[in-house]
């Protein structure tokens, strides 16, 4: 457990290595963010039949840099009614969690069979290619995503103006609603991996999959549903389209960052894109095997890990841009319905089904945790049936409850009469 270089005491070299890794990861993230901003603008432009940035640098690559420099030199305005301390604190509160999550992502390493299990040697010390392999790894992601909302909330509140406040109330409601679905879909993955450490999660996925051809990725092993729930809930946590209620420009001007200018605005902007990169990296790690993949020689094994990781990452980054260009924003009640009535029950049930299968499956001694029948197939079927019947019961209850609530609501609004009249007309 844990990073190998920390297993035998800590000396100065270890401290320097940790610091070096942190600086390296931060640089990688910043460069990735810079490229991501350019990538997003370019791809959205092409999808909207425009050209996009093309003046600054080759293919407009330096556009982000130019924008950043411009923002640095702008006047920094703090509204008179703002709560100065909180107003100045908020951008950092949203930036820091975005980076801290990135520290648990394994960026590279040779996870192929017969490889080094993700270990590399840097300055004579054996270590993983991630800043920290925390024993409770993936929980750090949950903790940080629940803290990231503070930046948005407090920014909106501290601005002392109406639209930002509306944005921050939306942000908190949205974050609370979707965090549950995010956590529950994560739990399914943890159930399969049996560990919270990101390195161990990648390790399990690097194993041989079905028929030796299909990769042993969690997205396949967990049956796609947790991944889809995670993707939707993650997009909502990021406040990205189609869930960008927090800064819906047609409704509440700019939302929480309306009153921000200059460098503080750019910090929010940076945090938002950092979150996109980080969440994509987390998804690659959790569901798509992270840096795990075959090494084809020529290059050292860990470089292949790096290549695999970044090719998978780019797919997700494109996906988020695609979402933005293709999907219209939801209505607010649709957002809440989707979160509470679809995603949370669905992920809860899927967790139940996976747990049922897990209970029924025999371990290496041929004994399952709970045994009803000696035949493993019948045993699995039994638990699957139990889980599915609980699912059916829950779905029925939910449907009855929401129908009743709807009827009550219509009645209290006096709309029932209208419904009956129209029925009579028909």
């Amino acid at each position: 457990m844990g990073d190998p270089y920390l297993s035998d005491g800590v000396d100065l070299g270890d401290v320097l290595l940790a610091a070096g890794k942190a600086v390296f990861a931060f640089t990688v993230l910043l460069v990735a963010v810079m490229l991501m901003v350019w990538f997003e603008r370019k791809v959205v432009s092409r999808l909207q039949n425009r050209i996009g940035p093309n003046i600054a640098g080759p293919f407009g690559l330096f556009q982000t840099l130019a924008d950043g420099i411009k923002l640095f030199f702008k006047e920094d305005v703090i509204p008179t009614k703002a709560d100065r301390f909180v107003f100045q604190l908020a951008p950092y509160l949203s930036l820091i969690p975005a980076f801290l999550t990135f520290t648990i992502v394994p960026l590279a390493g040779d996870f192929s069979p017969g490889g080094s299990e993700g270990r590399v040697v840097i300055f004579g010390r054996e270590t993983f290619m991630q800043v920290a392999d925390v024993p409770v790894g993936i929980l750090l992601f949950l903790a940080m995503s629940s803290l990231a909302v503070y930046g948005v909330m407090l920014a909106g509140w501290a601005s002392g103006s109406k639209y930002p406040l509306l944005g921050s109330v939306r942000a908190s409601a949205q974050a609370i609603s979707y965090e549950a679905a995010l956590g529950l879909s994560l739990a399914s993955v943890l159930l399969l991996s049996g560990s919270l450490s990101t390195n161990a999660i990648v390790q399990v996925q690097a194993g041989e999959g079905f028929l030796g051809v299909v990769p042993n990725w969690n997205v396949i092993v967990s049956g796609f549903v947790p991944f889809i729930v995670f993707l939707i809930a993650g997009t909502a946590e990021l406040n990205r389209p189609p869930f960008d209620f927090v800064e819906a420009e047609q409704e509440i001007v700019g939302g929480y960052h309306t009153e921000y200018s200059s460098i503080r605005f750019s910090l929010f902007f940076l945090a938002e894109f950092m979150n996109v990169v980080t969440l994509s990296a987390i998804m690659v790690t959790l569901f798509f095997g992270g840096p795990a993949g075959p090494a084809f020689g020529l290059l050292p094994g860990w470089v292949w890990g790096f290549i695999w990781f970044f090719s998978k990452l780019i797919v997700f980054l494109f996906l988020f841009v695609w979402f933005r260009a293709a999907l219209p924003r939801l209505r607010y009640d649709q957002l809440m319905d989707l979160g509470w009535k679809v995603l949370i029950p669905l992920s809860l049930v899927w967790l139940l089904i996976l747990a049922g299968i897990r209970l029924a499956q025999p371990d290496e001694n041929g004994v399952s945790l709970l045994q009803v029948s000696d035949n493993p197939t019948i045993n699995t079927a039994y638990f699957l049936g139990a889980a599915l019947s609980v699912f059916a019961l829950g779905a029925l209850l939910l449907m009855v409850a929401s129908k009743n609530a709807r009827d009550d609501r219509l009645k209290s609004m006096g709309l029932k009469a209208v419904a009956i009249e129209s029925a009579e007309v028909n």
Partner: protein, 213 residues
């Protein structure tokens, strides 16, 4: 040495945060101080190698619960100074002082009983660990496994009872909101419908907390 300095820094953060909670005039700043205090506690948990507990502290208390506080503060617009002369419950101040002094006395008693070394004090407060507990409390198993074994094994009844209690509380809240049966004009009715939706959100929020806890 490292342990002591980490303890001093995080203890200072906890105490300053706690002072901030009771001394800030502004509820939002009080809530922020509460987050700082929770963070200090989380660091102390890490110091005791209870990694899981520390992150749950951040996720549940630092994240969900204070966000909920802030949500309510912002939604109701109560982020203004309150009149502190009004006492909703008669004698609550004296009761509060009494409870605080009593709690402090219990903690101090534990400290004095333990003397230097500290082991005896823990035993004096919680009793000698049984053999079964001693088996669970084993330095080599990760704390998440220890917690799970204890919570879902020995204390499963208490765990379920807590879950039931939370469910009853949420159902009670829903019933209280739903029973406001007075004739309302259509314009207000739409508003109250939105309210009842909020309450159903809260229900599920509490259900979420229940899962977390």
């Amino acid at each position: 040495m490292v342990d002591a300095s980490v303890f001093i820094v995080s203890a200072a953060i906890i105490i300053l945060g706690a002072l901030g909670v009771i001394l800030s005039k502004n509820p939002v700043r009080a809530a922020l101080s509460l987050v700082a205090s929770f963070f200090g506690v989380a660091v102390l948990f890490v110091l005791q190698e209870a990694h899981f507990l520390s992150l749950v502290q951040v996720v549940v208390y630092g994240g969900a619960i204070v966000v909920l506080f802030l949500f309510v503060i912002m939604l109701l617009g109560v982020d203004k100074a309150e009149n502190l002369r009004i006492e909703p419950l008669v004698g609550q101040r004296y009761a509060g002082v009494l409870a605080g002094v009593g709690f402090c006395a219990i903690i101090c008693a534990g400290l004095f009983l333990s003397g230097p070394g500290g082991e005896d004090g823990a035993v004096a407060l919680t009793g000698t660990p049984t053999q079964e507990q001693a088996r669970i409390i084993d330095a080599t198993t990760p704390d998440i496994n220890q917690l799970a074994t204890d919570l879902f094994g020995r204390n499963v009844l208490a765990f379920e009872a807590t879950a039931l209690l939370l469910t009853i509380a949420t159902v009670g809240a829903v019933v209280l909101v739903k029973n406001q049966k007075k004739p309302v004009p259509a314009s207000v009715a739409a508003h109250s419908a939105a309210d009842s939706e909020n309450s159903s959100e809260n229900t599920e929020l509490d259900a979420e907390n229940e899962v977390d806890e």
